[in-house]
């Protein structure tokens, strides 16, 4: 679906020093290479200014790469922008493609004309989105009066009316409340699995990734730091897991082989036992623990995805220093 090879993008940034204007070249995307197969759901994450939006703009044909090669659905985005536009859907969380002063329904009708969707397809697709996203009650409300969550559901519907093969979402859940986020995620997961629509999304909300994207790409300073299944990245970067036990009576932490660190809380009522996933399993550990102490409750905690990404950055920094 997407093929990116050695993609580079530079910007000239004006730096004013007194009256003289100098230009400095900033590399926003620096040799990015990846493939996305049809039907995949890929999370594209990184801090602000890492090059995410620039990559997306090049994939959608808005920006032309400085060098490198892109094909999206067999088409070169920078040369065949309009052909590509018919086949992909794009949602920017921060900007709207709806008609601000018109009822939501009117925006959909206009997009139907713009993308030349047949009346029958249009009715079927719109009905599906209206049903799954619960748009019915505000279809006749002007877009400017919609809440952010409602508008976002409208934006996603707008991007799907022409049944794109690829849906690109730039921060789709930004600013939404928990319930709206959950509803969107559920819907996106559904169109990905059921309709086979390829998803590429950038986000700051790592729950989006956890819920939606089996594959994660981490970018920083214009370079891909890691690319793979979330689980693999987690295992590779943060080999530690944690077993949290709540005791019936306060007491010292049980002494169990395989535990590398212990942290106690609440006067010895709760203990965090860190262990290496490669060396011991949670099950082995639990068997040993319940032999020694009376356990009220326990939980196995995976490292937060934020930690995973932080460690990836750290690893990259270390490599840079060594070089």
């Amino acid at each position: 679906m997407i093929e990116v090879r050695e993609l580079r993008r530079e910007f000239k940034v004006a730096t004013s020093k007194g009256l003289r204007r100098n230009y400095k070249t900033v590399t926003a995307v620096d040799g990015v290479t990846f493939d996305v197969a049809a039907g995949e759901a890929v999370g594209y994450v990184g801090p602000n200014g890492a090059g995410k939006s620039t990559t997306i703009k090049m994939l959608t044909g808005i920006l032309v790469p400085t060098s490198g090669h892109i094909t999206v659905g067999g088409v070169d985005p920078s040369k065949q922008r309009r052909d590509l536009a018919k086949r992909i859907g794009v949602v920017f969380g921060q900007r709207s493609q709806l008609w601000w002063d018109l009822p939501l329904q009117d925006s959909f009708d206009l997009l139907k004309s713009i993308y030349r969707v047949s009346a029958e397809d249009y009715r079927k697709r719109l009905e599906e989105c209206v049903e799954l996203l619960g748009l019915r009650e505000f279809l006749s409300t002007p877009v400017r009066q919609l809440s952010l969550g409602q508008r976002m559901r409208g934006e996603i519907t707008a991007a799907l009316l022409h049944a794109p093969e690829l849906l690109v979402l730039d921060e789709p859940t930004i600013g939404l409340d928990l319930e709206s986020k959950e509803r969107l995620r559920e819907f996106l997961a559904d169109i990905n699995t059921r309709r086979g629509t390829t998803l590429l999304l950038t986000t700051h909300d790592l729950d989006d990734i956890e819920r939606l994207c089996p594959r994660l790409m981490v970018i920083d300073h214009g370079r891909v730091l890691a690319d793979g299944p979330l689980e693999e990245l987690r295992a590779e970067v943060t080999p530690d897991r944690e077993l949290v036990i709540d005791l019936r009576e306060p007491g010292p932490a049980p002494d169990v082989p395989g535990v590398t660190a212990v942290r106690s809380e609440a006067n010895g009522l709760r203990h965090h036992l860190t262990f290496r996933r490669a060396e011991t399993t949670a099950a082995q550990l639990i068997t040993q623990v319940v032999r020694q102490v009376e356990v009220h409750d326990l939980a196995v905690v995976e490292p937060e995805i934020d930690d995973v990404i932080r460690k990836l950055y750290q690893r990259q920094l270390d490599q840079d220093v060594r070089r």
Partner: protein, 265 residues
């Protein structure tokens, strides 16, 4: 199919405006007043002189009317290019680039303001008055010329708008520069070009082909000699000039958008 899309987009825009009724009505009145004020300037002028550059009051009114109609039509479609800096800054332009349509037509239909029709109607009234008072020796060709002139003029104005607004892709706040040519050339074309000093005349009449909006077609219609010495057929050349201007504008726009996609500022 494509021909269906743009009327629908315009219709959508008009419905949007109707959702703010009070401001729509106020705008309409403002536009009519604006057009009248320019008229008053000409009338006051001719209260003091009997001819301007060898042209009578009614002859100047004819030029003013041609320019007014042409500008009104151009403003209706190209006027929203004034919003281009905002589109670029807020990323709306990127949304236009994501659609399977050309960017220029999308902008042109994005904000068609019906209130601007007030201007056109006012100018048509002046044209009717002027034509009945200047004594044209009517022929079928001259009738055609009368109809084609404001349309060709609208294309010329539109082209000026597109070319000068393309500058906004380099200098985002380049609007003042653009306005000098768009609104400036409206004022310029409302008067006989021979009243201006030579350098201004050359730039505004031929490089920016403003003299072909009203001045030369009016000469042909009135059967007058050009005081500047150009042959009579020039008065019939406006459609050709308009086509040329449109081609230049199309080229300039494409070049500007290519620059934008290359820099993404």
């Amino acid at each position: 199919m494509a021909d269906v899309i743009y009327p629908r987009l315009i219709g959508a825009r008009l419905r949007s405006q109707m959702s703010y009724r009070a401001s729509f009505a106020l705008d309409l009145v403002t536009q009519v007043l604006a057009q009248w004020i320019e008229l008053v300037v000409i009338l006051v002028l001719f209260g003091h002189v009997s001819a301007l550059g060898g042209f009578t009051r009614d002859e100047v009114l004819l030029m003013y009317a041609f320019a007014g109609i042409a500008f009104g039509i151009a403003d209706l479609f190209a006027g929203q290019l004034d919003n281009l800096p905002t589109y670029i800054r807020t990323g709306t332009f990127d949304v236009l680039l994501m659609r399977p349509l050309g960017t220029l037509p999308q902008i042109m239909v994005s904000d068609v303001r019906l209130r601007r029709v007030g201007r056109i109607v006012g100018a048509i009234a002046v044209m009717v008055y002027a034509l009945t008072h200047v004594g044209v020796a009517w022929t079928p060709a001259k009738v055609a010329l009368t109809i084609v002139t404001p349309l060709a003029g609208a294309v010329i104005f539109g082209a000026i708008w597109v070319v000068t607004c393309s500058v906004c892709f380099w200098i985002v706040e380049g609007r003042e520069f653009a306005n000098a040519f768009t609104y400036g050339s409206n004022t310029f074309t409302s008067y006989p070009v021979n009243v201006y000093s030579a350098p201004l005349r050359w730039v505004m009449a031929f490089i920016v082909p403003g003299a072909f909006v009203a001045y030369y077609p009016s000469l042909a219609l009135l059967g007058k000699q050009d005081p500047l010495g150009l042959p009579g057929w020039v008065g019939w050349a406006s459609p050709l000039v308009a086509a040329l201007a449109a081609a230049v504008a199309g080229f300039a726009w494409r070049f500007a958008v290519r620059h934008y996609r290359g820099t993404g500022s």
